[in-house]
């Protein structure tokens, strides 16, 4: 059975139709890339999956593991294993990364009906994930994204993903703003995470990331619908010829 199944999805934002009939199916174990010009609706898709307020589904369905997720609150979707790495991560000054992660991990434990992990176990796990992303342990003590550089914010999103081990990770331009070494590190993080029965939807503008994280499928979004799908070679073609290639 497919892990994520989107059928004929129409979404309005502020009364404007933005997504106009998306069909997308991702099986467990797969990585799919979503590409497309600025304003084509990639972030809208990511946000609507996560249940962000203000995104109205006017038609179509979204299921995760066969369950219709559209009536669920954002936190319920999170507890079902849906994770969104934000294109523009927001800051929460005063709340440390560690505290924030602990609250998230505890919420997920409670969602499974388990006791929260002990502070010691949790800190070990958070530190191990930070180390995999070559983040200084002090990073965990700083306020969530507070004063982080653009690249650090993106790495922090991946850190949260590694700690929460979601079933479906939607990464919205996590590669944008990363330097060459950081890109490699983040790619390693995603590769270590992929498989294990989970699925990844990678929103990206660049072939670069896909050199490291090779996707099963690449989809091209334009004007609110998927206009082309193919294997990983699609990204290479786009890189060479631009989106004009698809019009021809």
């Amino acid at each position: 059975m497919s892990l994520l199944h989107i059928e004929n999805l129409h979404v309005d934002v502020a009364g404007q139709p933005i997504l106009t009939g998306i069909d997308l199916t991702v099986a467990a174990g797969e990585v799919h890339a979503v590409m497309g010009p600025n304003g084509s609706g990639k972030s809208t898709l990511a946000n609507v999956l996560a249940g962000r307020p203000g995104y109205d589904i006017t038609e179509g369905s979204v299921t995760v593991d066969g369950e219709d997720i559209t009536p669920l609150s954002p936190e319920e979707r999170s507890l079902r294993g849906l994770f969104l790495a934000f294109q523009y991560p927001i800051e929460i000054p005063g709340v440390s990364n560690m505290e924030f992660l602990k609250a998230a991990v505890d919420a997920h434990a409670a969602g499974r009906g388990e006791d929260p992990p002990s502070a010691v176990d949790f800190v070990k796990r958070a530190r191990a994930c930070a180390a995999r992303l070559e983040l200084n342990p002090d990073f965990l003590k700083r306020g969530v994204n507070d004063g982080f550089s653009g690249g650090e914010k993106k790495r922090n999103e991946i850190l949260q993903m590694l700690v929460l081990e979601p079933r479906l990770a939607v990464l919205d331009e996590t590669d944008s703003g990363l330097d060459i070494d950081a890109l490699q590190v983040v790619a390693n993080g995603i590769n270590a995470f992929r498989g294990n029965g989970n699925a990844v939807v990678l929103v990206t503008h660049y072939q670069r990331l896909l050199n490291y994280v090779v996707p099963e499928r690449v989809h091209v979004l334009a004007d609110g619908r998927i206009v082309h799908s193919g294997d990983s070679s699609v990204a290479l073609q786009l890189e060479e010829r631009g989106y004009g290639w698809l019009d021809g």
Binding site: G54, E75, S78, L79, F83, I90, F100, A103, A104, A107
Partner: protein
């Protein structure tokens, strides 16, 4: 405002009556009480004094205060609104019936149960609820419990006595330590200082008294728990803390009241005296009943708190966590008289529904090289109004004095207000005065990020607010920092729906 922020406002403004997150301390204890009929005149003051078996100097002191009060107009300058209080409709004395208890065993079991319900068992063995006493016994807490007008129990008395520390009710201090009381009572907050201080001086019923002798570190935290139980009674407690040369004491007060439809008046006076090299740390966790969603009922908390750093190198530090009361009107202040003395004020004030808080501090620099720090964190939710009002005064003799003020406001939703009124009066061009202020809002984006990670909005707001208050919580004694964070979370549960 955007659709989304309206959604947030709805979330915050949501009626919480149905959720059961009511004011947990809002129950009434059924006990027989000895209560004076409402009204205030010379006879009432004499009756209070007589009930407490006071010496005549005390009676005269009260009567002098009453006469001054009768000539004073009601103050109106605070950024709060409320109908005129009819001071003749209030009862100025209420006590659980029977003779004054001399030990815990004599305290009415109903009263003890009240404190247990509030999570504060008075039995010495238990110390404070939820506080596990570590091997190091200094972190025990001695408690004085004030039920309506009288002190019902002071715990750990003997151990304190060994150290020479006096910790007792004010009534007892007037009888047993008249020299100290006469010397210092009214020395920091004079009778005619302000309307409510004058009223308190006339009718104060009880309160706590602390004296820490020279070069003594008080062996445990001292704590007073105030509880208003009777209907239509005002609570006017009087606290006096004296730290003699080189002494140190940390003191905490907590307050609760039942839910009542009428407003109840609380007009306390707290005076702190720090002599040379002495240090007093005074922490308040105030959780008086704030009134319901529509603004009915709740405590009017009009309190005068002031400390005097009389000696060189002395230090007074106020920390307050204010979540309750319909109206709070309170400015814990420090008079920095001794050279190199230090005054600190750390405050968290949370308002929601229709609560109003006008709170802050006054730092008066008199001695050379005196230093003050003010950190104020105001959180407003619902339709509440939260004001910081602070005054820093540098007198001509305060050469090399410094003040640092940081004033942060956090707004939850669109219908609340935050205001800051910093006043700086400096006759000293060389004094260093720094002021920083920020206003921020719990944004939909922040809440959505938290939700996306599985954290429900209520927890998310509590976490964000806790982070915002960290600098203040850090200054609380360990045991109470946890309690304060919990209290804030509970108070917000209602506010976030």
């Amino acid at each position: 405002m955007s659709e989304q922020s309206n959604e947030l406002a709805d979330l915050v403004g949501q009626d919480h009556a149905a959720t059961g997150h009511e004011y947990a301390a809002g129950f009434v204890t059924e006990i027989e009480a000895d209560t004076l009929p409402p009204g205030l005149d010379e006879q009432v003051v004499r009756a209070i004094s007589a009930k407490k078996d006071e010496p005549s100097w005390m009676t005269q002191w009260r009567l002098d205060a009453l006469r001054r009060w009768q000539r004073m107009p009601t103050p109106r300058w605070a950024h709060v609104q409320f109908p005129d209080i009819d001071f003749q409709s209030i009862s100025y004395f209420s006590a659980p019936k029977g003779t004054a208890p001399t030990s815990l065993d004599e305290v009415d079991p109903e009263v003890l149960r009240t404190y247990e319900k509030l999570g504060i068992p008075l039995h010495e063995r238990a110390a404070l609820a939820g506080v596990e006493a570590p091997a190091d016994t200094t972190s025990n807490v001695a408690v004085d419990a004030i039920f309506d007008s009288v002190s019902v129990a002071t715990t750990f008395k003997e151990r304190l006595a060994e150290a020479g520390v006096i910790f007792c009710s004010m009534s007892e201090a007037i009888r047993e330590h008249p020299d100290l009381v006469r010397k210092y009572l009214g020395s920091v907050v004079p009778k005619p200082d302000n309307f409510y201080a004058a009223l308190n001086s006339a009718v104060f019923s009880d309160g706590s008294f602390v004296y820490v002798p020279k070069n003594t570190r008080c062996p445990m935290e001292l704590s007073t728990i105030f509880r208003i139980n009777e209907k239509n009674t005002g609570q006017f407690e009087r606290t006096l803390i004296i730290a003699d040369e080189g002494a140190y004491v940390s003191y905490l007060e907590g307050c609760t009241a039942p839910m009542r439809d009428d407003n109840q008046l609380h007009a306390a006076v707290v005076e702190l005296v720090a002599l040379t090299d002495a240090e007093i740390k005074y922490s308040t966790v105030q959780n008086w009943y704030p009134g319901d969603d529509e603004g009915n009922g709740g405590i009017y908390n009009f309190v005068t708190k002031r400390g005097a750093c009389l000696g060189d190198r002395s230090k007074i530090s106020w920390t307050q966590v204010e979540t309750g009361s319909a109206i709070t009107w309170k400015y814990p202040s420090v008079i920095l008289r001794g050279a190199d003395s230090v005054g600190e004020f750390y405050s968290v004030a949370l308002t929601r529904n229709l609560q109003q808080a006008d709170t802050g501090t006054k730092m008066t620099h008199i001695g050379p090289r005196t230093k003050s720090t003010i950190v104020s964190k105001g959180i407003s939710a619902g339709r509440s109004q939260n004001s910081y009002r602070g005054r820093v005064r540098m007198n001509p003799g305060a050469k090399g004095a410094r003040n640092y003020t940081q004033c942060d406001s956090l707004l939850i939703g669109d219908s609340c207000g935050a205001h800051t009124f910093p006043y700086i009066e400096s006759k000293l061009p060389t004094a260093v005065i720094e002021h920083e202020a920020t206003t921020s809002r719990v944004s939909e984006e922040q809440l959505f990020l938290c939700q996306q990670r599985g954290i429900d909005p209520e927890k998310a707001v509590a976490m964000i607010v806790n982070g915002f208050c960290r600098d203040v919580f850090r200054t609380l004694p360990m045991e109470f920092a946890v309690e304060a964070a919990k209290l804030l979370e509970v108070s917000l549960e209602g506010a976030v729906g």
